[in-house]
């Protein structure tokens, strides 16, 4: 297997972007990544997209986007793993380059979510859960995470205030990110007074609905210097795991076993432990998710995610900064693009080009992207080459 590096990154505009279509958003991100890397061809492309069908009535995305890219008849493959689609698409690109199948691969993600109304978007997202035995009963995605939050609070003493502090921290970081959909600071009180969605979660505990795309260029590490003037970022590890689709089938309702399993594989592959990571970009689709993900990644002890957040460990200047980009919460969550955008942030941080939100001495980054209530998780580790 060849060592792999990321040499180019790009993002489209993120937000409620009515004037731009699914394909337009994707092409902007893809061209930004191609231009950033300075390459004049790609040999294959992977696109993570949760539901082109339900959001814009368009499938066959691999071919459509290869067509839009205008770089010849390159094989285009669409990857779906619910909200982990982007991270899993990146993993396919890494494996394609590592195996020697392709040399220059575009890994990308896109979701165009605001062409449909809120109810239709909620329905499309709910298809990541068990349709027959969860959704049929009237539970929503926030409802499923709310049930995990209640167990976490009951078992570990996590407080409502600690959940709110995840949102406060991520919005503070997002306020420093010009790509963020909601780059405004929020207070604990604003979170606690925001409208209830599914007790104990409120609107400001939830990531938003977003239009957006992101893309990166993946090449053999040995070719990185020849292909691009950018400092190469090495992919140290890629690992993925699954869990039961339905939350109620899990042995432990407040432990993300798929994330723990993927992290274990990634740490082994990289030859490092959680203490060797400079910062992490994780899947904070809800405030409780960030707390549980930190525990599963081993960044904090089991049950200590809330306290660690309250103590400021995960802030930009903390012991282990989490979501310096603002996370899904503030940056936005165009589901298929999220996993790729985490890679974009990691690369920019490791290049040292994040300005006001730059993590000091950023040497190694970890990204964690998950689908559903954690039925799929994918973890990557990066290092400045």
């Amino acid at each position: 297997m060849r060592d792999v590096a990321v040499i180019g990154v790009g993002m489209s505009e993120w937000g409620e972007v009515w004037e731009k279509s699914h394909r337009r958003l994707w092409t902007e991100a893809a061209l930004a990544a191609v231009d950033d890397a300075g390459v004049d061809r790609v040999d294959a492309l992977y696109v993570g997209c949760m539901s082109g069908g339900l959001f814009v009535g368009q499938e066959h995305l691999g071919a459509m986007l290869s067509d839009q890219l205008g770089m010849g008849p390159v094989p285009g493959t669409r990857v779906e793993s619910a909200c982990a689609s982007g991270g899993v698409a990146f993993r396919q690109a890494v494996m394609a380059v590592a195996s020697g199948a392709h040399d220059i691969v575009l890994a990308s993600g896109v979701e165009k979510m605001t062409d449909v109304d809120g109810a239709a978007a909620t329905y499309a997202l709910s298809t990541a859960a068990d349709q027959e035995y969860e959704c049929f009963q009237g539970v929503t995605f926030p409802g499923l995470y709310a049930m995990m939050a209640r167990v976490h609070m009951h078992r570990h003493g996590t407080t409502r205030r600690q959940l709110a502090q995840v949102a406060v921290k991520n919005h503070a970081n997002g306020a420093l990110n010009d790509k963020a959909q909601y780059p405004m600071k929020v207070t604990v009180e604003q979170v606690l007074e925001s409208p209830g969605v599914a007790d104990p979660l409120r609107v400001l505990d939830c990531s938003p609905i977003t239009d957006g795309a992101a893309a990166v260029i993946v090449v053999p590490l040995a070719d990185a210097k020849k292909l691009s003037k950018n400092p190469a970022v090495k992919v140290l590890a890629s690992a993925q795991a699954s869990d039961t689709l339905a939350l109620h089938d899990r042995a432990d309702l407040c432990w993300l076993a798929s994330t723990a399993k993927a992290a274990e594989g990634a740490y082994r592959m990289a030859g490092i432990g959680p203490g060797d990571v400079s910062f992490a970009e994780v899947h904070d689709c809800f405030t409780i998710a960030e707390i549980m993900v930190m525990e599963a990644l081993g960044l904090v002890e089991k049950g200590q995610g809330g306290q660690a957040t309250e103590a400021g460990w995960t802030a930009l200047d903390g012991k282990i900064p989490v979501n310096p980009s603002g996370g899904l919460k503030a940056k936005g969550h165009p589901v298929g693009a999220t996993g790729i955008a985490q890679v974009v942030e990691s690369v920019l941080q490791l290049r040292g080009s994040c300005g006001a939100r730059q993590v000091r001495n950023a040497r190694r980054a970890l990204t964690q992207n998950m689908g559903g209530t954690g039925a799929s998780s994918v973890v990557h580790i990066f290092e400045r080459a």
């Binding site: 109810a119 909620t122 049929f136 009963q137 009237g138 049930m147 209640r150 209830g196 599914a198 109620h248």
Partner: protein, 130 residues
């Protein structure tokens, strides 16, 4: 989103009659039934779910999905039945402010949602305080 008759009909043994499958090899009960158990077993006997259990967690849905808007706010929980099977279901006929983890509940057959004028009246299980 309409479910459609075949898809609804296929789940009737579980939603109306609470039929689960017990692995002949390791004894694990699967609800809904599966084709293969994680122990490797592929033979199952029928098991009817225990009628009562306890609430392991719950939420109060305040922003409901389409089809449930006339019911909000309502409680949804994960119930662990006395035979060890866990399932997601609504908890009704209760004081939403007094629900707690550990609450004993009993299953009842109820209407879940109405899929509009040309859709199906969907029935299934809900739980009430025992």
């Amino acid at each position: 989103m309409h479910i459609g008759p075949p898809r609804y009909w296929r789940e009737i043994p579980q939603r109306y009659r609470y039929e689960a499958a017990k692995c002949a090899r390791c004894g694990k009960i699967h609800f809904p039934p599966r084709t293969k158990c994680e122990c490797g077993g592929r033979e199952f006997s029928q098991h009817i779910l225990a009628p009562e259990g306890a609430l392991e967690t719950f939420t109060i849905i305040r922003t409901p999905p389409s089809g449930f808007s006339d019911q909000a706010p309502y409680a949804v929980g994960i119930v662990k039945l006395d035979d060890g099977v866990r399932m997601t279901a609504q908890v009704v006929d209760c004081d939403l402010d007094k629900l707690a983890i550990g609450q004993r509940v009993r299953r009842e057959f109820r209407k879940l949602q109405v899929e509009g004028e040309s859709g199906i009246n969907c029935y299934g299980y809900k739980y009430v305080p025992a």
